[in-house]
């Protein structure tokens, strides 16, 4: 077919560039899609709602008494310890959500449809991230409400917001790992299972749930270099007071490092996905 005879129908533009406004419009349309998912399938919000409730109650009431003692207090002392720790995990959940969502789009063929449309490939990603960020903020709000109900003192509001931001920053770095998994793995379940396998030892082998002092030496060494410890400790510092600077820099360095390594991998895998 020759170019001259291929005049597209009126109303369809033929230029190659996508303007920033068009990007915004596409992302907006895709955000709407992701929000409609939640309306259609409210259960998908369960994890965002239930995670903070279940984990807070579980850890505070089951382990709180005994771990609290090693903190030199009781259950009340543990509440101040665990709530910032759970806050640190919010960003990781977001990262996992982006990865599994992406994987679903690939497997159902929806991604092929999008890729055959004249939109920037980033739009699909930005839309997914925006929605997962909203989900994360909702989960964070619920965590804070439940935390306050079981006795958490919010003494430092700016510190609280800074901790949320830090969790999101680290989550965004981790997102590249989950995006890679999302592109490579066969289905959403395996992305989740893989994420669980990688994240769980990292989460429990850190200072998120319990202070490492009582752990065996080799594990203490591990927790010391585990970025999740730095993340939890800096969230603690920001929310309830204490030293922050060193851990904060560690978290930022890790975030930059993970992004530098994994973002090119994820983009490469995405581009060459067959």
């Amino acid at each position: 077919m020759s170019a001259a005879t291929a005049a597209p129908a009126a109303g369809v533009r033929t230029d190659a560039r996508i303007s920033p406004r068009a990007h915004l419009r596409h992302t907006g349309a895709l955000v709407r899609r992701n929000l409609l998912w939640i309306r259609q399938d409210p259960e998908s919000m369960f994890d965002a709602v239930l995670f903070p409730v279940v984990f807070t109650l579980l850890f505070v009431y089951v382990f709180g008494g005994s771990i609290g003692q090693s903190l030199g207090g009781g259950q009340d002392a543990y509440v101040q310890y665990i709530v910032p720790g759970l806050m640190a995990m919010m960003g990781m959940n977001m990262a996992q959500g982006v990865g599994t969502g992406f994987n679903q789009d690939f497997n159902t063929g929806v991604m092929d449809r999008f890729r055959s449309l004249p939109i920037g490939r980033g739009s699909v990603l930005f839309a997914k991230i925006s929605v997962e960020m909203v989900r994360m903020l909702i989960a964070t709000a619920i965590l804070m409400v439940v935390g306050v109900l079981v006795g958490f003192d919010i003494t430092n509001w700016p510190g609280l917001f800074a901790a949320v931001g830090l969790s999101a920053v680290f989550g965004s770095a981790l997102m590249w790992v989950f995006l890679t998994l999302g592109v490579v793995m066969k289905n959403a379940q395996s992305v989740q299972a893989m994420g669980f396998l990688v994240l769980m030892p990292l989460q429990f082998g850190s200072s998120i749930f319990a202070p490492p002092q009582s752990m065996p030496g080799w594990l203490q060494n591990f927790t010391e270099y585990n970025p999740l410890s730095a993340l939890a400790d800096s969230a603690r510092g920001l929310m309830v007071g204490g030293p922050v600077a060193h851990d904060l820099w560690m978290v930022l360095a890790w975030s930059v490092g993970i992004t530098a390594v994994m973002a090119p991998v994820a983009i490469h895998k995405f581009r060459t996905k067959t």
């Binding site: 001259a4 369809v12 533009r13 899609r33 929806v110 890729r115 055959s116 449309l117």
Partner: protein, 328 residues
Amino acid sequence: MTVRGLVKHYGDTKALDGVDLDVAEGTVRGVLGPNGAGKTTLVRILSTLLAPTAGHATVAGYDVVRQPRQLRRVIGLTGQYASVDEKLSGWENLYLIGRLLDLPRKEARRRADELLERFSLTEAARRPVGTYSGGMRRRLDLAASMIGRPAVLYLDEPTTGLDPRTRNEVWDEVKRLVGDGVTVLLTTQYMEEAEQLASELTVVDRGKVIASGGIEELKAKVGGRTLRVRPADPLQLRPLAAALDELGVTGLAGTTVDAERGAVLVPVLSDEQLTAVVGAVTARGVTLNSVTTELPSLDEVFLSLTGHRASSPQDPLPATTSEEAVAV
């Protein structure tokens, strides 16, 4: 659409091994081949989802590798893979695609309504696509690829896995689109589908084109249709077969008798030959139970074109028999 020497390798596997293809504007080109012949790879390259290893292709005047964005504005893709969002309603799917194609809100709404109406989906418009039947889904798929009024439409095995009635519905829709002047590239595993929809046919196997030409031409090559004539009286079977053999209208293969099912099989190449056979039967005053025509299966097509069977074994094809009840 012009495709020259298209090659796609996955490691050692040659999914496409030098494919040439031309599709004239406003025509339907069928690409027939078994699973793994490279049909989907071809469609994915031509719809910019995949970069070829070598060779080049222009669609609607745009190079698939160098001008993907322009090309994406003028193509529609419906296939095994490219799909709609199951969690959204039919309407929301179409509206979303309209917005992604830069239609203003009002226009995107209007277009979604219009296409749902056209594809008889208005009643199901607000239901999530996950609740749709197979046929409704394929129709929505087609509607989704029509939002941007594409000049070129790719249909990648549009009826694989559908029951015969639903398949006919989809065929009817495709025929209407072709009537509107859309250029179509259709991949299929079924000779019958190619015959129903395509005017030109390319047969592919293991990433190579093994035959290409007008559909009538290829049908003649593979022996056209087979007429299955069943006399009411089984005793008439052999005399009838002898008479039809003498008639000399048979195609490549001679007249044969399927004694088990009480039928005479007459390969014919044209409608005229078919009519002549029926005429000869009538002239002899034989009462018939049924007359049916059968298209060659993919296996038979391959057998006659290449001398070997289709390279990958596949599920049994849906009946390639079209009943043409002829009361004699």
